[in-house]
């Protein structure tokens, strides 16, 4: 019986997330459109509201092309690896008190593990397509994810030290309900590092080098078409959402807000996650892409030393103030 309830919960979460992903693409196109003084999708439905569904149907019925010299099994598996890893990390996110599928003690580490797994999807897609653009995209993604995962992990160590736990629910509870208790204030350096690493981890502008369309056509996804291409997109948007959720949980106090919304407890969580998503899109509409060597030197020469310094600082403060 318990398993059945869990199964239904998983299905509901999956449906909500898929809907969210569809409309995240819509909001991105709308917001970027308006920032560029355009209108974005307008044709399908009122103000283009049905556009994501039309896109989904279209990509579902498109031909699934596999390149002739491709490594077929790996080629087919790569997008699924990407999506599965991202969906799995949703299991440990607490949307509100008790609104979590698996309240495990190593929640934060679990998300790291899954996000490092999702980079495999990108790497293998790049390699298996047997094309130079996808291969370059895959190599870039590999180096980028390895370097920025270090910075991101180190930036969250400060949060772990302050809260004394890896359990995401307990991290939120450790911040307390008040506005001043949010870890963004004591951990402002960590938040800065985390934010930039978050952009790089999800391959978003200004660090979207793995899929830099001006130089690599579409990066690692060049040879993909139809549903498999759509799966990569879903994985990217779920990745954005997971990273925004970690930012919300670790720095912005999770589901706590200025007042309680009793009918829908995750209200403040959703608001904060959407604020993060908006910033993602806002940055995409504003900034140009970094050069690859700049990306690497920012990661290794700025972010990692900053994060290490933050750990030492937090350690000292915690040791002297107790």
């Amino acid at each position: 019986m318990h398993v059945l309830i869990l199964f239904i919960e998983i299905l509901i979460l999956f449906a909500i997330i898929m809907l969210h992903v569809a409309y995240a693409t819509y909001f991105e196109r709308k917001i970027i459109g308006h920032m560029q003084v355009r209108m974005g999708p307008m044709r399908v439905g009122w103000h283009g509201l049905l556009q994501p569904i039309a896109d989904g149907i279209k990509s579902f019925f498109k031909e699934d092309v596999v390149p002739e010299q491709a490594d077929v099994v790996t080629f087919r598996a790569a997008p699924i690896i990407c999506l599965t890893a991202m969906l799995t990390s949703l299991a440990v996110l607490p949307f509100a008190k008790g609104w979590v599928l698996a309240d495990i003690n190593i929640g934060l580490l679990f998300i790291f593990a899954m996000s490092s797994l999702s980079s495999y999807g990108v790497i293998l897609a790049g390699w298996a397509s047997n094309s130079k653009y996808t291969f370059l995209g895959g190599l870039r993604s590999m180096a980028q994810v390895i370097s920025y995962e270090v910075a991101m992990g180190l930036s969250l160590v400060g949060v772990m030290m302050l809260s004394g736990t890896l359990n995401l629910t307990k991290i939120v509870e450790a911040q307390g309900g008040s506005f001043g208790g949010m870890y963004i204030f004591p951990q402002i350096i960590a938040f800065f590092v985390f934010f930039i690493a978050m952009l790089a981890e999800t391959n978003r502008v200004p660090f979207d080098l793995p899929e830099a369309e001006t130089e690599l056509v579409s990066g690692y996804a060049t040879e993909y078409s139809g549903m498999r291409y759509a799966i990569f997109f879903m994985a990217e948007y779920i990745g954005m959402m997971v990273m925004s959720s970690i930012g919300t949980i670790c720095f912005l106090g999770g589901w706590n807000g200025p007042f309680e919304v009793t009918i829908f407890p995750p209200f403040w969580f959703v608001v904060k996650v959407y604020a993060f998503m908006f910033v993602f899109i806002w940055i995409r509409a504003t900034l140009p892409r970094y050069r690859y060597d700049q990306l690497m030197s920012i990661g290794w020469k700025v972010l990692i030393p900053l994060a290490l310094g933050n750990i030492v600082l937090t350690g000292f403060i915690k040791a002297f103030t107790g």
Partner: protein, 175 residues
């Protein structure tokens, strides 16, 4: 019952993917097999109550070390590798040795005697959470080995840098 089934599944997958990994022609496929193997290893760690190690297993082994292997495999040319013979000439000797090793190791198992019990029973680990228990042990009794491990990592970083650096004498340093 469920634990038994899970163990058997993991064991079969580990042995199967291990065998595939050492026999597959394409090294990238072999690395993928090892990736699957590491995941099942993490599953075994979970049923042994070592959740932190399971996460570290995936983050470090799958997320960093295997990616490094893939990177190096991509850097060296694989084009001829898939056509050439993948085993050394005297491979049969190696196989006989390893089978003999396995048989002798397993045949020696009945003589194994469990040593003295420690002071971290499962209940205490679960109460303190595994991460905390491991940390308590590591930063008190094993602080010196921990420091040495850090030193080893530092040496590895420097060594990797030195080895992978292009030793062209006319490198112009960017100011």
């Amino acid at each position: 019952m469920f634990t038994y089934l899970f163990f058997l599944y993991c064991a079969v997958m580990i042995v199967g993917t291990g065998l595939l990994a050492i026999t597959m022609r394409n090294p990238v496929h072999a690395v993928l097999m090892v990736l699957v193997l590491f995941f099942h290893m993490a599953g075994l760690y979970l049923i042994l109550g070592a959740e932190f190690l399971a996460a570290v297993q995936i983050i470090v082994y799958a997320g960093a070390i295997l990616v490094l292997y893939l990177f190096v495999l991509f850097l060296v040319s694989l084009r001829d590798e898939v056509k050439m013979d993948r085993f050394v000439t005297s491979a049969w000797l190696g196989r006989i040795i390893s089978v003999g090793l396995a048989v002798s190791l397993i045949s020696m198992l009945p003589t194994f005697v469990l040593g003295q019990k420690g002071h971290w029973p499962m209940a205490a680990v679960i109460k303190a959470t595994h991460t905390k228990a491991l940390g308590m042990e590591m930063y008190t009794s094993y602080i010196l080995p921990f420091e040495i491990a850090g030193l080893i990592l530092l040496i590895a970083v420097i060594g990797g840098l030195v080895l992978a650096k292009h030793d062209t004498p006319t490198t112009i340093e960017k100011s």
